[in-house]
């Protein structure tokens, strides 16, 4: 089985957030429930201030702390699915311990106060056990892997678009959106990325393009000190997470 990994080249990324909206559309997430997000940071002052950004999917860690803490095994790392970390919505009890334990802040409890009001959950009320039932939801649903619109009271997260990836031919080294035979299997964020700053492939295959890129361009993992060992690698300048600092208030 492949070990799916993602590579994000920050020298090409323009911070446009197409990955975020593609993910939101593909996975029917609510505003603010950004399984895929782009985080902006700025430092310094005019005329030499800087601004940078980091696109952030779930890191699908090799040693995921969220999985260790889940009391019901609802969140699990599926080695038969390329090492993707899933939430089984049939088992999740909504204790949110995984959200505490994830160092990357990639888990969401959408059964919360809406970021943007009025609440879409009221505009498109949930049917058939769904938290909300928008008319534009996609056809795929697999609650055992956290795919589709979630029910109430559970944690949701990026699935590396498993409902797409899982249909890829076995043994493929890379899922490249420019290959017409593969484009439908590529995760939404990778497929749409206009500057082609994202790559998706098999980390267990030394021939894969993702491994070549990591090797050639000195790929790094974010917050590696956590020991979680992400399956997402970053290339280029700015692949560091600035420490939190308070903003000037006055």
């Amino acid at each position: 089985m492949a070990k799916w990994g993602m590579v994000i080249d920050l020298d090409k990324c323009t911070g446009c957030q197409a990955c975020t909206t593609a993910c939101g559309m593909e996975n029917n997430t609510l505003p603010g429930e950004n399984w895929q997000d782009v985080l902006f940071y700025s430092e310094g002052e005019y005329p030499s201030g800087q601004m940078k950004w980091l696109p952030r999917p779930c890191m699908q860690c090799e040693d995921p702390s969220c999985v260790h803490v889940c009391p019901t095994r609802a969140t699990y790392k599926d080695m038969n699915a390329g090492g993707i970390v899933f939430v089984d919505w049939n088992k999740c009890i909504g204790c949110k311990y995984c959200m505490i334990a994830c160092p990357y802040g990639v888990r969401f409890y959408a059964d919360e106060k809406p970021l943007v009001e009025p609440d879409l959950k009221n505009i498109f009320p949930g049917e058939n056990g769904q938290l909300w039932s928008p008319p534009y939801q996609g056809p795929d649903e697999d609650w055992r892997r956290g795919i589709g619109v979630q029910p109430k009271g559970v944690v949701s997260k990026c699935t590396f678009c498993y409902h797409r990836v899982s249909k890829a031919p076995e043994g493929v080294a890379d899922l490249d959106e420019d290959d017409p035979e593969l484009v439908e299997f590529v995760p939404a964020c990778v497929r749409t990325c206009p500057p082609k700053a994202r790559y998706f492939g098999d980390l267990d295959n030394p021939q894969s393009n993702v491994n070549r890129l990591i090797g050639n361009k000195r790929g790094v993992r974010l917050r590696d000190e956590t020991g979680n060992r992400p399956q997402v690698y970053y290339l280029g300048a700015g692949a560091g997470v600035p420490a939190f600092q308070r903003r000037e208030r006055s």
Binding site: T21, F40, P118, E141, K167, E177, P180
Partner: protein
């Protein structure tokens, strides 16, 4: 366990072979979801129904990205870039994916409606009453027939924003001709980006936006273009950006702008200049390129003896320099450029001279090198001169029509429409022809260089000069919110009969007498020739993904249906046009002789592929020689006359540093801008006249990547990621340098008032120490007071307020471009 394993493997095998089988059947068929339906249920995954993919083009900016629209069981659920579309190449910008939310926006108008409340105002409920399309068309046509009978057909005006092609805005020409109104139609171009077009008209004779060869350029100067936020085609630009920034050699990028933004942040270097002073930097770069001998001699020419005599402050004798494809270089130097040193520019812009010198040397020593611009430098009273100074750099670097340079857009090979309007003119139409000026006075002595002056319309109407309108129809524009001094429009729209055609509620609709809701773009049949892109011709087609979910239709059909009800031969003309589909079928016949590179040769194949295009661009300049494509390569050398006719369309046939176009109205420019008439032709420094006079702060209102043609204000998913720079995820915030705020006792998060000559709006503040202390920034999106439940939710209609309410209606006298970014304001705690 082994049995289980075997089952698992077998299942995966079935799954894969299913997918591969369908994939083999053809790329046009959707592989993924079809495979999903054949996946055994036991895998846990379920997919509901069969998925169909239709072609369309995005509607959220002018770029016209081809999209694949995914529909399952009659519901649209996904939009991805069309891999077969040369702009999209399978990719999309962040707006593109929001299309489904527009389609299913619960605030959409559900069918045609008539106003019952005669009073109009922001707080007046229009009292909508549903009517049939027949009733609506009959009433509108009846009123137009009445106007025509009374010799008042000029008092009917069309206003439009985003026009797409012959099947919508393309219908306006015939309409004006047949109905007998000069006001068909008043376009929004003067509230968009006319400045750059006029700068190019003045210098290279093309009144157009450029096509660009980004992929082959090695150096770029980006002047206030929002390149990685809002420049078009944004999606393709980002694709090219990925290429430019990883190719060999990597394209060096310098961004010149007035605020910290993603383009600056992603560039190799940025210069943060004072609003309206970009031209000064461009002039200093040109100055340095000349004094250091860095101009492209093959294109511009050289001193006869090869010795550079350009020295700061010293004139040069004209006969010593032999020009090739440019005109007036020495005059320009002697009359303007010799004094435009980098240190002079520092005194004007605040950007250190040494940084300008660095940029100039890099730009001058790298080929191909291009300088691009858009609204930032041009939305000021000196906009065209700023733009000319910037565009002059493209001549000096020799990138005009060169590989890695700039050129212009070719049109598609359309066939003729079903009827020729000239054959359907009646007496009224003939009599009204040329009788009255347009309501906006564009193309008159008042605005001699302009094509449209929409922002003048309400003011002129309210003053009764040249006359008062009686009736107006709006398509894809909302000037009552977007025009500078927006409240003027409320007055005008209160006095006349208004028809709005937006699919969504909006401020203009609040003042409408009849609403004819258009279908959203995913439900439309509509064509669209490309915006300037890579030069070669292209035209795309919107194919409805589903039948309209409400009682709506295409705007083109509305015009045709109203036209059919006009008395006399006009009605006959529109019966010949019949419908949008009939029109498109006619023009698509033009493809038969000119099949697209993707095999599109008629209406059906156009529908299937969504786009017709024919590469390559036909012309190229290489080392000072212009070549034309001969079918195999750029092999045919062009004569000077051919270049003048086809490419550099100035009076001299050369790139003019002394613009004959501007000199044609020298007195007008002298009167409006105070430039001596002998000097009006030069790209030059003109002090911008900021509205708001002595107020201390520049106020700029840029677009973010999520600004979707004015409609993302009611899209919750867009609101939630609208302004990442300061974490604006529930509204847009006013970005202020902390020192500027501190001086006024304003803390981060405070509510503030922004005051201009016209009034005040409010906003919440967030500190951005990376901005200029003299410039405050409010991204343009919220402040809509009638756009729907999310636009007005959580106070987004008031904080922030609509920046156009405090933007003075002042335009660049040459381009006519409204000076959106030239206002100066006060800031205080609310």
């Amino acid at each position: 366990m082994n049995v289980l394993k075997a089952l698992m493997t077998r299942r995966r095998f079935l799954q894969v072979s299913g997918a591969a089988g369908v994939a083999g059947a053809g790329a046009a068929k959707l592989v993924g979801f079809t495979a999903a339906t054949s996946t055994p249920k036991t895998a846990g995954a379920q997919a509901r129904g069969q998925t169909r993919v239709t072609k369309n083009i995005c509607h959220q900016c002018p770029a016209r990205c081809g999209i694949n629209v995914y529909t399952t069981n009659g519901r649209v659920h996904a939009i991805y870039g069309d891999p077969g579309n040369p702009i999209a190449n399978g990719k999309l910008c962040p707006k593109g994916h929001l299309g489904t939310y527009f389609l299913y926006d619960p605030d959409r108008f559900k069918g045609p409606m008539r106003r019952t409340n005669p009073r109009k105002g922001r707080n007046e409920d229009p009292g909508w009453e549903p009517i049939t399309w027949e009733q609506a068309y009959d009433e509108i046509a009846g009123r137009i027939n009445e106007l025509r009978k009374n010799g008042e057909s000029h008092k009917f005006a069309h206003f439009y924003g985003r026009g797409w092609g012959p099947s919508d805005a393309g219908l306006y020409g015939a309409w004006g001709q047949l109905i007998g109104t000069p006001n068909s139609a008043i376009g929004h171009a003067s509230m968009c980006a006319e400045g750059s077009k006029r700068a190019k008209a003045a210098t290279d004779g093309n009144n157009s936006y450029n096509a660009y060869d980004y992929r082959n350029t090695n150096c770029m100067l980006i002047f206030g273009a929002g390149f990685l936020e809002a420049f078009r085609p944004y999606n393709k630009i980002m694709q090219d950006w990925g290429h430019m920034r990883s190719k060999s050699p990597k394209t060096r990028v310098t961004t010149i702008d007035v605020r910290m933004n993603p383009t600056m942040a992603a560039s190799d270097r940025y210069l943060m200049t004072k609003p309206g002073t970009d031209g000064a930097i461009a002039l200093a770069i040109a100055h340095l390129m000349l004094t250091e001998g860095l101009w492209e001699k093959d294109f511009v020419g050289d001193f006869r003896d090869g010795r550079n005599r350009f020295r700061a402050g010293q004139t040069v004798r004209a006969f010593e320099f032999e020009e090739k494809w440019t005109h007036g270089l020495v005059d320009w130097w002697n009359n303007e450029l010799k004094d435009r040193t980098p240190s002079w520019a520092e005194s004007v812009t605040g950007v250190p001279a040494r940084e300008i010198i660095e940029v100039a040397r890099e730009f001058g020593t790298t080929r191909p090198a291009m300088a691009i611009m858009e609204r930032g430098p041009t939305a000021h009273t000196n906009g065209v001169y700023n733009g000319m100074a910037i565009h002059a750099l493209n001549a000096l670097s020799g990138c005009m029509f060169a590989k890695g340079g700039l050129f212009y857009q070719m049109g598609p090979s359309y066939g003729p429409g079903p009827a020729n309007p000239a054959d359907y003119m009646d007496d009224i139409a003939n009599e009204m022809r040329g009788k009255y000026p347009r309501i906006d006075m564009a193309r008159t002595e008042r605005w001699p260089f302009t094509a449209h002056m929409m922002q003048e319309s309400a003011r002129n109407h309210n003053a009764g000069d040249p006359y008062k309108l009686k009736m107006a129809m709006f398509f894809s524009t909302n000037p009552i919110w977007t025009a500078p001094d927006a409240p003027e429009w409320e007055k005008m729209l209160s006095e006349i009969f208004v028809i709005d055609t937006s699919p969504f509620p909006g401020e203009t609709a609040m003042f409408a007498d009849i609403v004819l809701p258009e279908s959203t773009y995913l439900e439309r049949l509509q064509d669209s020739p490309t915006y300037p892109f890579e030069g070669w011709p292209m035209t795309a087609l919107r194919v409805p993904a589903i039948d309209p979910i409400y009682d709506t239709t295409e705007f083109g059909n509305m015009m045709i249906e109203i036209g059919k009800r006009i008395e006399g031969p006009t009605g006959e003309y529109y019966r010949r046009i019949d419908s949008v589909e009939n029109l498109l079928r006619h023009i698509a016949r033009g493809f038969a002789d000119n099949p697209g590179d993707n095999g599109v040769n008629d209406f059906e194949s156009w529908k299937e592929k969504g786009v017709w295009y024919r590469k390559p661009y036909h012309w190229r300049q290489h080392r000072g020689v212009f070549y034309e494509w001969d079918g195999e390569g750029y092999n045919r050398v062009m004569s000077e006359e051919e270049v003048k006719e086809k490419l550099i369309k100035t009076a001299s046939g050369k790139f003019e540093f002394k613009s004959s176009h501007l000199e044609g109205h020298a007195d007008y420019i002298q009167r409006e801008l105070g430039i001596p008439s002998a000097r009006v032709g030069y790209p030059q420094w003109v002090e911008p006249k900021h509205t708001g006079g002595n107020r201390p702060l520049h106020f700029v209102t840029p677009k973010t990547p999520l600004t979707a043609e004015g409609r993302s204000g009611n899209i919750p998913h867009a609101i939630a990621i609208q302004q990442p720079i300061v974490g604006g995820n529930d509204r847009t915030y006013l970005e202020v340098h902390p020192q500027t705020a501190r001086d006024r006792g304003i803390r981060d998060g405070d509510r503030v008032r922004i005051r201009s000559d016209l009034g005040t709006i409010e906003a919440y503040v967030r500190f951005v120490p990376q901005h200029r202390p003299d410039t405050i920034v409010l991204p343009y999106e919220h402040g809509h007071w009638a756009q729907g439940r999310w636009a007005t939710g959580q106070g987004r209609d008031r904080t922030p307020g609509n920046p156009n309410e405090i933007t003075a209606n002042v335009s660049d006298p040459i381009s006519g471009l409204a000076c959106y970014y030239t206002g100066k304001v006060d800031l205080e705690r609310a």
